[in-house]
Symmetry: C2
Subunit: 347 residues, 2 copies
DNA sequence: TCTCTTTATGGAACCGGCTTCATTTTATAT
DNA sequence: ATATAAAATGAAGCCGGTTCCATAAAGAGA
């Protein structure tokens, strides 16, 4: 008897007195096998606890049932929440996922990209980092294009100039409007927009909508109330301090994302500003942290589940010769919690 | 010219006028190649943007440069923070990681285990879930043993009865003593222990130490102050409510982990109990959430970096025929923040 | 210039599956 | 029982690398 750890189809075939073709057939149910023969083969497989070597299979099938997922930082709940949904969808379809944290290091990003391609992944899902900068360096776009010839790339909530990959995304414009409309419905008119970085898709979209509301006079704002302070808790923290140094405050703040909103809440608490009694605030993304801070933050929720599942489905589909649209939008939803209240109730 | 997406060493060899052996040599630097020849081969490779197929390489080398990482939930910062460190260590050694979220579903866990083995990973890192239940079902232990014959398994901060895999772990006993000693040094004596589940290693260790302190009369506690309420924020939340229903309160609470501590803080805020003025609290793990709540939570920090790196190094080493101890301990550190203050200052 | 090494290179088998095509076996119809 | 169609199985090559072994080329010493 051979070393039990390297049993191959040949060993199984030998002992069962059949050919490897037959073993392969029972393994994959790829063609009819007489019941008696099948039973015999299975018995031998069980005896040795046979597990086929996926490398060999993938090599010949040219499919690995593997997906690469690239994101900047999995400890960031915004990314991890999409990731787990994607992983679940992948599991259902029999895929495993190589997770690649780039930590926003473009060199690391390139290394991972290269590795994933060498490992013959069936597709790559890209989220955040360089993948959602509106403008990107030409070299990187070129890199992506070369990969796309061979491996489908799906971008989640991102857009990359000059790269025509698949994109699944929340309709952020619509979601942002939902947030704004909610504030308006509460009677707010003097609104600040906090957070973001110009040149990043998710910021640009929101800035744009905000301007439209201002132009149509639905919102009254001031230049100093639009604070471009990134995407982090610290960014929100600093922004509120900055706001508090001004002569007059808005009655409501809409944050670029939940981290910013959380930072604002944290700063408010430290500086004795009451939320929502003195200022209402609304976030974006509905990461679970919004429920553990006090007050829990009203926010806009993505359809994580659908979004992630779609990304995975596209990759699976492409590998089965299906054809997909390049762009797919998903709904968002207003999640009302405690950080925003009607203007009347305030103060 | 062939389809540019499936260039092989044979194509390179042809065009460069050498044999595949030579191409392989320049690819791996596995044997000397005359400078002129090497240059010629590299030139052709560059021309076609050649990327070797890692499947084929792994098949023949019997090494995949791939690690499987199994944990219950990557959205949980406790796990994700270790994960990213492991991923970084892996990247440095040229490994990719298959991340597998089990969501505590043992069926999913088994599927992943099977898949990872079929994909021929060079090793599996296991964290949480069934992997740290002191007692586990025999079938699962058996499953693990079969895998271990072929694939090294490293457990992080876990222990599984009857499974003699590699283990890297924080010295939780020592860490917990650090926490307890700190509270004592602040003058606390009446202390509650909140959270955990008996039968899980990290709980059992702490309960044990706590008892020792009680027996040696360093701590005065009551039966009702020891509340086994799991590992979640909700668990901490409920536990504090329970404590508040009692006739008398401890002056300090030591939580099984940071989530519990955060839940306690949240409940305290809602119920008007001042922390740390009325009760001090200390957590365990040093997840980053401890810094975003108010008051920021005093806690015990693991040496994530070292822990994760060790797990990866062991797998890499075993694959290079090195020999390692089965168990490796790492230091912890007391992180003093604002949730605990001296007994004198309280009230 | 002619052995004797040393260094470079090529040929072919191998890693462990899958798949096409040919062949044998079995079932169906006459 | 015989011709014919259908089902089951086997043989061999392929997927794309690596590596051992043998041969050829280059360099060293006499």
């Amino acid at each position: 008897m051979k070393d039990e750890n390297s049993i191959t189809v040949y060993d199984i075939a030998d002992e069962a007195g059949v050919s490897v073709s037959t073993v392969s057939r029972v393994l994959n149910n790829s063609a009819p096998v007489k019941e008696k023969t099948r039973a015999r083969v299975i018995k031998v497989m069980d005896k040795y606890n046979f597990q086929p070597n996926a490398l060999a299979r993938s090599l010949s099938k040219k499919r690995t049932k593997t997906i690469g997922f690239i994101l900047p930082d999995i400890t960031n709940p915004f990314f991890s929440e999409v990731y787990v949904k994607a992983e679940r969808a992948a599991l259902d379809l029999g895929y495993s996922i190589f997770l690649s944290n780039t930590m926003n290091d473009s060199e690391v990003e390139s290394i991972y990209l290269k590795t994933l391609v060498e490992k013959q992944v069936d597709g790559i899902i890209f989220m955040g980092g360089r993948a959602n900068e509106t403008r990107t360096d030409a070299a990187f776009a070129e890199e992506m294009k070369v990969i796309m010839k061979k491996t489908p790339i799906v971008m989640i909530n991102g857009e990359m100039e000059g790269v025509d990959c698949y994109r699944v995304k929340t309709d952020e414009a619509d979601g942002f409007r939902k947030g704004l409309n909610y504030l308006l419905s509460l009677g707010h008119k003097e609104i600040a927009l906090v957070g973001g970085i110009k040149g990043i898709t998710s910021t640009d979209i929101k800035l744009d909508i905000f301007s439209q509301y201002v132009e149509s006079a639905q919102i009254e704002t001031k230049e100093e109330w639009i604070i471009e302070s990134g995407y982090s808790i610290e960014g929100g923290y600093e922004a509120l301090k900055q706001l508090l140094s001004l002569a007059d405050l808005p009655t409501a703040i809409i944050a670029i994302n939940d981290f910013i909103a959380i930072g604002v809440v944290k700063a408010a608490k430290e500086m004795g500003l009451q939320i929502p009694q003195e200022v209402s605030i609304i976030g974006f993304d509905n990461i679970y942290l919004t429920t553990i801070v006090l007050p829990a933050i009203t926010t806009i929720s993505h359809n994580y589940q659908e979004l992630a599942a779609k990304a995975v489905n596209i990759i699976d589909g492409i590998n089965n010769n299906q054809v997909y649209e390049k762009e797919h939008f998903f709904d968002s939803e207003l999640i009302i919690r405690e950080s925003s209240i009607g203007l009347m109730k305030m103060e």
